[in-house]
């Protein structure tokens, strides 16, 4: 036979409605996987990490790619391609951070195919889109056999590669709540080869100031340093209500580096990751504070 490397699943489903999709997922059970862009899933199937019986593609359900601006925020469909998200004009000011995260994922060829929902549901601790979405307060809108539900994105992940999604559920969209005035948000990916690499660490920070220039709200999310993307409540609490100085930011960065639990892998040692958290939290908070003053 020819040199085809098949993955040996039995059925390929391409539902055209969400209802049909949920029904198929319910029938197929745990042996099925959802196909969004496929840029991670296909590779893991080929390397026999995943052995599946069925693949359920979301590519024929147009409403999953919709982007809608509503009163209460911006809704981005889970199947929105990362390339489109990285250029989405509705993502302005404090939402621009979502553009940055999407634009940091791999190369043009991957971003053209991969989706925002796929990058999230993959639940990689170093997914570039997730820290930005988390500090933006994104809400995951889910639908399943028992109807719709919404989960704060930071509660969506239960471990590396694991989410709260039940086997009959899919992620439909992300809701980005409206942001306050004087809010600045910044994401920085640290890697050796820019976007080509998976992030060594990713740091997102969002700061909202009041008229006096004091911190009203601050969120810090770290990628690549724990089993899931993590917030740093201790550092956030430390900064809240204060007027930011270089010294305070440095102290918050130290708290962040002490709060994370990175591992050593092929991309970096845990010691290096810890040190990089300190460096990049400082840069991210400094830049976010500047942005906040501008907005």
């Amino acid at each position: 036979m020819l040199g085809v490397q098949k993955m040996k699943f039995n059925s390929y489903h391409e539902p055209e409605t969400i209802e049909e999709c949920i029904q198929i997922l319910d029938e197929q059970g745990a042996d099925a996987k959802i196909l969004a862009g496929g840029t991670d899933l296909v590779i893991r199937m080929r390397s026999r990490v995943f052995k599946l019986k069925a693949v359920v593609s979301l590519n024929a359900i147009p409403e999953l790619s919709e982007v809608t601006l509503k009163e209460d925020g911006l809704y981005i469909g889970a199947m929105a391609r990362l390339m489109d998200v990285s250029k989405l004009e509705l993502l302005t000011d404090a939402w621009e951070i979502v553009k940055t995260g999407a634009g940091n994922v791999s190369s043009m060829q991957v971003r053209n195919i991969a989706t925002l929902g796929g990058n999230t549901c993959n639940a990689s601790p170093s997914a570039d889109t997730v820290p930005s979405l988390v500090v933006s307060g994104a809400i995951a809108n889910i639908i399943g056999k028992n109807g719709p539900r919404s989960v704060l994105l930071e509660d969506f992940f239960t471990g590396p590669g694991k989410t709260v999604l039940a086997k009959d559920e899919i992620l439909v969209s992300f809701k980005l709540p409206n942001y306050a005035d004087k809010t600045g948000a910044v994401y920085k990916k640290y890697s050796i080869r820019g976007d080509t690499d998976i992030a060594i660490i990713g740091v997102a920070g969002k700061i909202t100031l009041n008229a006096q220039g004091e911190v009203v709200d601050v969120k810090i999310a770290l990628g690549g340093v724990a089993p899931t993307v993590m917030r740093v409540p201790k550092a956030e609490a430390f900064l809240t209500g204060k007027k930011l100085t270089d010294q305070l930011i440095e102290e918050a960065a130290v708290i962040a580096s002490e709060s994370c639990t990175p591992i050593t892998d092929a991309r970096a040692t845990k010691e290096y990751r810890t040190e990089m958290v300190r460096v990049w939290v400082r840069h991210v908070l400094t830049d976010a504070a500047q942005e906040a003053q501008k907005n």
């Binding site: 098949k6 040996k8 699943f9 496929g38 791999s106 991957v110 820019g194």
Partner: protein
């Protein structure tokens, strides 16, 4: 070996021609292109979506054909390296790669040429940094990229100077 009852029908357009595939769904796009359609110009260099040798155009946009299942190209327009030239008449991107000696072992070349075309599809005036940003998903071990970037720049200038068109 294969139980044909699981086969799926995929209608798409490959290099300007309508194609109706009846295939096992557990195959990647690159394997179908190479083995079912004999389009061996699309190369396989890694198993993990990193080298870019399998780059094709999907509705004019670059995609890695090793990272997609064949079902994902339903109703799409695929362009492979074999569909870039018009018979003996080369696409300006191909001609520029030849003229600048941007081809050495040639294994990354089809992917590079298609990425180059995709970059200019998106932005006909892409500058050097934008070209480099667009090409970083294509690895080359022979040329050091210098002449490849030069080739895309020359193709851009020739296409913008008129005459040559870039409709893929």
């Amino acid at each position: 070996m294969q139980n044909k009852s699981n086969f799926i029908k995929v209608d798409c357009e490959v290099n300007g021609k309508p194609v109706s595939l009846h295939v096992s769904p557990d195959q990647t796009v690159v394997d179908v292109l190479r083995n079912e359609l004999g389009l061996t110009g699309t190369k396989k260099g890694c198993d993990d979506g990193n080298c870019g040798a399998c780059t094709i155009l999907l509705d004019g946009k670059a995609a890695k054909s090793c990272s997609m299942l064949i079902g994902q190209v339903r109703n799409k327009k695929i362009t492979t390296i074999e569909g870039v030239s018009n018979g003996e008449i080369l696409h300006p991107m191909q001609q520029a790669f030849i003229d600048t000696f941007a081809i050495q072992c040639g294994f990354c070349t089809p992917g590079m040429i298609l990425s180059g075309i995709a970059i200019l599809n998106e932005n006909p005036d892409a500058d050097e940094e934008e070209i480099r940003e667009g090409l970083h998903g294509n690895l080359c071990r022979c040329t050091g990229y210098v002449k490849i970037v030069e080739a895309v720049e020359i193709a851009r200038d020739r296409m913008n100077a008129g005459g040559a068109k870039n409709e893929i």
